[in-house]
Structure formats: C-alpha cells, structure tokens
Amino acid sequence: MKNVFIKGPITPEFISNSIAKHQTKKEIGAHNIFLGQVRADVIKNKKVAAINFTAYEDMANEVLENIREKAFKTFNLTCMHVYHSLGEIKTGEICFFLFVSAKHSKEVYAATEYLVNIVKKKVPLFGKEIFEDQTHQWKVNN
C-alpha cells in the first residue's frame, strides 16, 4: 500500500502532479478534490499559527485501507487517493488532500463527503494547535 502521509504541507505542485497523472485515464469524466487548509482560528484571543500533526501510522494505514475498500464497494469510482500531512503545517497551508475520480459527475459528490467525514472520524491523527505566542491546545474533531 502506498504511503498516505506526507512530511510537511501538501503543495499546490503535488496536487497538480496528481491531476496530471490522471489525464491518461480517458474513461474519467469527473474529478472531485477536497483540500483541508489550516485555518487561523482565534481561540480566547489567541490566534492559531500552525498545527503539528502526528499519527499512529501503522493503525492509520490499516484504517485507510478498509475505508478505501469500502468506498470502492459503495461508490462507482475509478480512482481514489488520500494524503495527509505530518509535522508542523502553518496557517494557509494544506494538510489534507482527498481526490476521487469517476466516469460521471454524479458519482463523486457523495463519495467526497463520505470520505472526508470518515477520515476525520476514524483515522488516528492528532493535531497540536500552536498559537502565535507558542502556547498550544489539542485539536478535537467534532
């Protein structure tokens, strides 16, 4: 299984390379890409400057493999890719990249929403929100 985790931010160039690789797949008519960008939230007057992500990687890879298998059974997808950053990701940088492709547009929307939500809920990733004053708190997905 290929590696899902990327050290540092996911760059726009990485995303464009992923898109370019799919241009030889001529049965694809629709791509949907979800990107998570680190937001400069203000919490009790302190602004988030970065999130430091860590993962229980061995477990995360197993969970993602199950998610992938179920997604291909549930949705009529041609391709599916998930990438998540590890390490410190500054505000404005991209930490999460989900990419699904299908023959027709109607196949991709529900798959995208389902996959983003299940990754947030089921993959053991942890985020340390670092404020501008270098204090921190631990991020919790709702």
Binding site: G36, F53, F96, F126, W138, N141
Partner: protein, 78 residues
C-alpha cells in the same frame, strides 16, 4: 511484556511515546485504569487500540506478551 504507545495529548501527559508493561493477569480495563492513575489522564477522552483495532476502554480482553496497546486522544485529521 506488552508495548504501550501514547499519542498527542496523552504522550504529553505521559512524557513518552512508548513503554513496556508486564501483562500477567491484566486485561484492557485494568491496564487503562492503571495508566489513568499513574499519569492522571482523566482530563483526556481516551480511546484504546489493541493491536491497531479499537476496543472498549472497559474491555475484559486479557492482554498477552507482544500485544501493542495504544492510548489515543481525540482524532483531529482532515
């Protein structure tokens, strides 16, 4: 001996990422209670993974040597 793994807010509380524990006659619930007491984890919502599968925090599954028990704080990916 089984391997204990800690992540995020829990690793911060234990001040380490990994340690070993003797598991003679210990089940998951016992183990969690022990660590909870030792490291004062009450503030953190803990999930437990036994060999990379989530189990109930009060599970009576007996631990054995070579098991990997991970204490996981709330997930924050995406």
């Amino acid at each position: 001996m089984a391997i204990l793994k800690y992540y995020g807010a829990i690793a911060e509380a234990t001040n380490c990422f990994e340690e070993q524990i003797s598991v003679t006659n210990l089940n998951v619930a016992d183990c969690v209670a022990l660590l909870n007491k030792k490291y004062n984890l009450n503030q953190i919502q803990v999930h437990v993974a036994l060999n990379k599968n989530l189990v109930e925090i009060d599970s009576a599954i007996k631990l054995k040597d070579s098991d990997e028990i991970a204490l996981l704080p709330p997930f924050a990916g995406g």
